[in-house]
């Protein structure tokens, strides 16, 4: 066990999987010599060489398109898109091909491909560097969409994503990269994709979130207990899609109330799907409308105003209060 930041934990995941499986290839802009602009791939090129840690020219569609070819060949490309705000340059390669090639070839070609990209706000970045648009991928059949919430699960999920036979979009919250350290076991650890985790038990209200928002959500749960004696149950989705609602439904059947929290814009966002699943599967148990605490339906503003955009502790606490007092 070592205490690690999320950057270090992700680096460990890559390092161990690369050592274990020579089919794993890391590629992207500045992932080699530079070690990635956030240093997630730091040092990999020294250990594995330029053949396995590939600095590419500046072209996202090509990075993904080339990865698709590699995956069809049977390799396991882990490509980095420098910021998720530039993953739309390769949207068509993902939608038209990565998400379909296994299916189109009737199972002939595997598509074990991971697209890593930093997402989300809170790091005083330039325009296009703070978006949270996981819903685009979550709505795309054939993909898996994963977002870890801390060093330990980031490492375990990345290992699982690399081993997964299907294409995985793996978003990493920039705000978490160096925010805190966690014990991460040296030995191998995986986490199954498609399984949300109950991370705090409670009986009064269910809070559902993922990624960077897990921190204010957990804080809010604590504050609710301290301030009002409210016991919030908290679920970390980890995998956004395919969304397994079972544990969510179970929790809401118990609490009767739910708050969904994400940075992404509200309308047509991830929260809407969660609301819908809960309404479909736990209709009679709901005591109040489910609250969505989300980014607004506008472009996330440049950093002078981003704090007011991103859901924070008080916004979450207030929403929980509303469901409780409904």
């Amino acid at each position: 066990m070592t205490k690690m930041t999320m950057v270090q934990a992700l680096n460990l995941a890559l390092r161990q999987e690369m050592a274990k499986d020579d089919g794993v290839i890391v590629l992207g802009e500045d992932v080699g010599r530079d070690g990635g602009v956030f240093r997630v791939t730091d040092g990999l090129i020294d250990q594995f060489g330029e053949q396995r840690v590939v600095d590419t020219p500046l072209a996202e569609s090509a990075i993904v398109g080339m990865s698709i070819g590699m995956a069809a060949y049977g390799l396991k490309p882990v490509c980095e898109i420098q910021f998720s705000g530039f993953s739309y340059q390769n949207f068509h390669q993902i939608e038209n091909h990565a998400a379909r090639l296994r299916w189109r070839s009737q199972g002939r070609y595997p598509m074990s491909l991971v697209l890593r990209a930093p997402y989300g706000g809170g790091v005083r970045a330039l325009e296009h560097h703070s978006e949270s648009r996981e819903a685009y991928w979550a709505h795309t059949p054939g993909l898996k969409m994963v977002i870890p919430s801390g060093p330990r699960n980031a490492r375990a999920l990345l290992v699982s994503a690399i081993r997964d036979p299907d294409p995985v979009i793996f978003y990493e919250a920039k705000a978490l990269y160096r925010a805190f350290r966690e014990e991460v076991p040296d030995e191998e650890e995986t986490l199954p994709l498609g399984r949300p985790q109950l991370v705090r038990e409670g009986k009064d209200v269910t809070m559902i979130s993922y990624g960077a928002m897990m921190r204010p959500v957990m804080e809010a749960a604590e504050v609710l207990r301290e301030r009002q004696g409210v016991e919030a149950e908290v679920i970390d989705l980890l995998t956004i899609s395919p969304l397994d609602e079972e544990i969510l439904v179970r929790s809401v059947k118990k609490t009767g109330r739910a708050v969904v929290v994400h940075e992404a814009p509200r309308s047509f966002g991830p929260g809407a799907e969660i609301v819908s699943r809960l309404m479909e599967k736990a209709f009679f148990f709901l005591q109040a409308p489910i609250e969505r605490v989300t980014g607004f339906d506008i472009v996330i503003p440049p950093f002078a105003r981003e704090k007011s955009y991103i859901p924070g502790l008080e916004r979450i606490v207030a929403a929980a209060g509303r469901t409780l007092n409904y």
Partner: protein, 367 residues
């Protein structure tokens, strides 16, 4: 020298060996065995007759929309002829002759054109990708495949086909550039059939040729008479050998013509003249090659006629076979197959929904 021309070090050439009058440049004539010449001729003939038959079937409502290849057989076959089974063919959507050369069955083409996913299946003994509809996008996959082969220390290469229209897409550019930087073993074959639906070559780019676009990527480029199978064969042979030997990628422009409509949904009379089409009908690659074989004593007129009959029979058998097969296909529940390696719970539930609905409607399907 403060104002000096920049020397273009890339080699960009034009190649023609057997011209439209059937005149042969004997010095450039590639050395092709009689057996291979016959195989190529048969494949061209099969490509041609199959295309014609598909058009009939489409007009009879027995298949859906499809893109005819007539006139482009030489461009396709002269190039794929160099591939070994372990190589990768990465087609667009207008390379039926090339796909069939690589082992795709005629019946699978018919089945695919009838809207059955089953038609896309690639023969197990060939490393090819299925048809790719989004124009230009497949070019990048070839780069990844070529890169991967080299990484695995194989001397397999990737050959990708695309049209003149495709060269306008960003993906063509990104693919060429990546191939150049990584010196990937990829042969880029542009079938410049001079039309992209209604857009003429002149409306597609202000560049005089596609071949010269190779200059932008520090890569050799060559334009060949795409209706001259000997020229295509010669140019592709050089490119394939270079790629296999680690010499990097090549761009080949086959100058040819889309004699038919874009797809069966298209009406080319809206945008081009019959006179233009007529000129190109005269440049038909098939009789040109037939005459060459005749002159060379590889296949007599009679032998060519026999081949014709053989090929027609093969097509008829494929139609019969496909139509028989399709009667047993189409279980709607199969649409959930292969979307993921394993069906996730929410899809299992949706599949169940559909199964229930079908059962209620009295439709018998195995679920």
């Amino acid at each position: 020298m403060p104002r000096t021309p920049i020397t273009i070090s890339e080699n960009i050439e034009y190649l023609s060996i057997l011209d439209e009058e059937g005149r042969l440049d004997a010095e450039l004539e590639p050395d092709i065995s009689g057996e291979m010449l016959l195989r190529l001729y048969r494949a061209m003939l099969l490509g041609r007759r199959f295309d014609e038959r598909l058009l009939d079937l489409q007009r009879q409502g027995r298949i859906g929309t499809f893109p005819p290849i007539k006139g482009q057989e030489a461009s396709q076959l002269g190039a794929v002829a160099h591939l070994r089974p372990g190589d990768w063919l990465v087609p667009s959507f207008r390379e039926t002759a090339a796909e069939v050369w690589r082992g795709r069955s005629l019946s699978s083409v018919i089945i695919g054109n009838n809207g059955f996913s089953e038609g896309a299946v690639i023969p197990l003994d060939h490393n090819d990708l299925p048809v790719s509809v989004p124009v230009g996008s497949q070019v990048l996959h070839a780069v990844g495949l070529g890169w991967a082969a080299r990484y695995r220390r194989k001397d397999d290469i990737a050959m990708t086909f695309f049209g003149d229209g495709a060269t306008s897409e960003g993906d063509f550019h990104e693919g060429m550039n990546f191939a150049g930087v990584f010196q990937a073993p990829v042969v880029f074959v542009c079938q410049n059939n001079q039309w992209a639906i209604s857009t003429s070559f002149a409306g597609q780019t202000h560049s005089a040729t596609i071949a010269q676009k190779a200059v932008a990527y520090g890569m050799p480029g060559i334009r060949v008479d795409g209706n001259d199978i000997l020229a295509v064969y010669a140019a592709a042979g050089e490119a394939v050998d270079r790629a296999r030997a680690g010499g990097g990628p090549t761009l080949i422009e086959c100058l040819t013509y889309r004699v038919m409509m874009h797809t069966t949904a298209d009406d080319p009379k809206r945008y081009r003249t019959d006179a233009e089409v007529e000129i190109w009908r005269q440049r038909d690659p098939l009789p040109r090659f037939g005459k060459y074989l005749l002159d060379k004593g590889v296949a007599s007129g009679e032998e060519q006629n026999d081949l014709e009959a053989e090929v027609l029979q093969e097509i008829q058998d494929a139609v019969d076979h496909a139509e028989k097969q399709m009667r047993t296909m189409g279980n709607p529940l199969d649409m959930f197959n292969h979307v993921y390696a394993e069906l996730p719970p929410h899809l299992a539930a949706q599949r169940e929904e559909l199964a229930r609905e079908l059962a209620e409607a009295g439709k018998e399907v195995q679920s």
